[in-house]
Symmetry: C2
Subunit: 397 residues, 2 copies
């Protein structure tokens, strides 16, 4: 039988990353392709202890339906932490719990976009967000991402030309895939442009707590006096990705519509793990735990960068992240990266092609993403050596 | 600031049931308004044992990202159970894990409907499904539900008049809110009409395992030789609602699009509880456990029905469910039920107004839904007595 698939999904392809993730069952492959946190970042023993206690003393709450907005004590704890760490939350804001940060992106789009509307994105951008927009019939339109953040001149031009743009999607801190952090000056300009053109900003900050170098830059949400920023994040990179607990903070009028949408999407987020998260946050040393993760990623990132510095031909450029999970390599002279990536895979090193992150799915890319949170130190050394050899063979020194 | 909300969400109101659920914090209220399973249906101790073992031996898998389709051993176990219990699953079908049964409904709609399309529904129908259609810009169009199932004459007329109808949504077994089970003859006729008009059927079966009286009726999916039925269900009513584990079985070509949509909605369903579910299914006595739940609900339903038989004036009609969580009361002569419901609430008995389940949100209703899984036996006796007194006062004997 021929099935009539909705327009918005008919042409949408599965995320290249999730597909690569599925194919990475070959244990001999060195994978720089993951977006996973290190298993060392899961405080399993502590979670096991709290879990046993929940089953003993709160099972009937944890296993029963909860409310769509999320487990109230967790919402309170998240609000307190966002305030303390990132200066987030005003009287007009409210916070709800989502099924991972991903759902926050999806619900924002559902609340704000009709089919045919536009979301303005940094280009490149997080594939999961881009496809989330597409799956709801909205079109991501890319604006180049420079070293200091999204290109504000092109952004203003795009805003002026795109009356059906509903929001600007940014990952300003430890950007996925580029690993860069936009400057405060850039953020302020983007904020003013959003105000001027009457569009909202969706600030995605899943890696914000993972700074291992440099100075903190204020979040967009921290200077949002006008109620135009929706902020989403999650516990995926600091406690567990598999538990799927995220959150969104934004103006009540928008969030209340997202609650209605969430109600009919998954009713509420897994109750048990909401309670587990809350108790971990309030009873254990979450700051100490995050400090440990930062240490791990600092060492991994420094190793990958020093190996690149030592071995990679100078014509290949790469970013120097101050946090997060990724860095971004760019081949010389705009060379399409697909041949390089194929050669790397033939030598059992997997990276994610830059094309996966393009707003325009037909556009080529001269770049690829490297992840340093998952590979072992040995794999980082060997993998970068292999990539460097291929680059030298293709481009010389 | 004035926010521009998407057309599909701008007019959508929160589910009356979820709102009632939130307001039911007054412990002196007798609530027949819930849709919750009894806490007695949670095998907490066994889940605690398995949970401890997962933390001990499989934590790094359980807490890490998983694949969108779901934890493979759980998918296999679910497929085996659907086959054994309900004759479900052919070569062209595949099964994925969803975040509760609710997400299966939502993903089906996303895969099949453009904004402006129609979903044909039994009227009344499950509010969570109706709002899920609306939240994606599809319109639920109701066809009356008779004692033997959806009215097939009106269904055919509606199909003939509605070229943009994409699927028929049915809860054929222990219907929510009506508690009725459609006959095999009715199901076969609906199936033939779907085939004739080239639309799919979404069979929602969250209560299917909860039969406590009468004979099993084959699911739509069990006679789906043509690949036109999408089947969804969950573990919410047999293991835990709070864990949010559901599943969908349907033709691969449709399910593969739902996977793409799920990927960008919540990436995957909570991994830990997928593993917990799988181990419970394969290592413990799930059939024995369900038999226990059936016994509890049989006793509750029989008590509520016998109290209604004894005390309710004969002019008030009600359904006699053979399973599930609900029965449906209808006032005489088409009397709008809102005054009755207000009087009941004033006397601290909460029920859900029939209007909440109408496809046409402006239409009145002469009915209301009663839940018997949550209230205590004492509350059932007292609550039905109060409702009967109000009915007698309003309508005489």
């Amino acid at each position: 039988m021929e099935y009539k698939i909705s327009n918005k999904l008919a042409s949408l392809k599965p995320s290249a990353i999730r597909e690569i993730f599925k194919s990475l069952t070959d244990p001999t492959i060195i994978s720089f392709a993951a977006g996973n946190p290190s298993p060392l970042s899961f405080p399993s023993e502590e979670l096991a202890e709290i879990s046993a206690d929940i089953f003993k003393n709160q099972a009937n709450v944890a296993l029963q339906y909860g409310i769509t907005e999320g487990y109230a004590p967790l919402r309170t704890a998240v609000e307190a932490r966002m305030k303390e760490k990132f200066g987030i939350g005003r009287d007009f804001d409210t916070t709800i719990i989502t099924t991972g940060g991903q759902q926050g992106i999806e619900l924002t789009t559902k609340a704000l976009c009709n089919e045919g509307d536009v979301v303005i994105c940094e280009n490149p951008s997080f594939i999961g967000a881009l496809n989330s927009f597409r799956a709801l019939g909205a079109t991501p339109v890319g604006v180049p991402l420079n070293d200091d953040g999204i290109d504000v001149e092109i952004l203003e031009k795009t805003l002026a030309e795109t009356p059906n743009a509903k929001f600007i999607y940014v990952i300003p801190t430890f950007h996925n895939p580029m690993g860069i952090t936009s400057t405060l000056e850039n953020r302020k300009k983007v904020y003013e442009l959003a105000k001027k053109y009457g569009v909202l900003i969706l600030e995605d900050n899943p890696y914000g707590e993972l700074r291992f170098a440099g100075e903190n830059v204020p979040t967009y949400k921290s200077f949002d006096e006008d109620g135009i920023v929706i902020y989403c994040s999650s516990f995926s990179k600091i406690l567990s990705a598999g538990m799927r607990i995220g959150y969104v903070c934004g103006p009540q009028d928008v969030i209340s519509k997202m609650v209605v949408a969430k109600q009919v999407e998954d009713v509420h987020t897994n109750n048990f793990f909401q309670m587990l998260c809350h108790r971990y946050m309030t009873e254990r040393d979450i700051d100490g735990h995050i400090e440990k993760i930062r240490g791990i990623y600092r060492a991994k990132a420094e190793l990958m960068l020093s190996e690149l510095d030592k071995h990679m031909p100078k014509c290949v450029k790469y970013t120097r992240p101050e946090g997060g999970l990724f860095l971004w390599c760019t081949l010389p002279n705009g060379t399409d990266s697909s041949e390089f990536i194929k050669k790397a895979l033939a030598q059992k090193v997997a990276v994610v092609p830059g094309t996966a992150f393009n707003c325009d799915t037909e556009a080529p890319s001269d770049s690829f993403r490297l992840n340093y949170s998952m590979p072992s130190d040995e794999d980082i050394v060997r993998g970068i050596s292999i990539l460097s050899d291929i680059a030298r063979e293709m481009f010389g020194e």
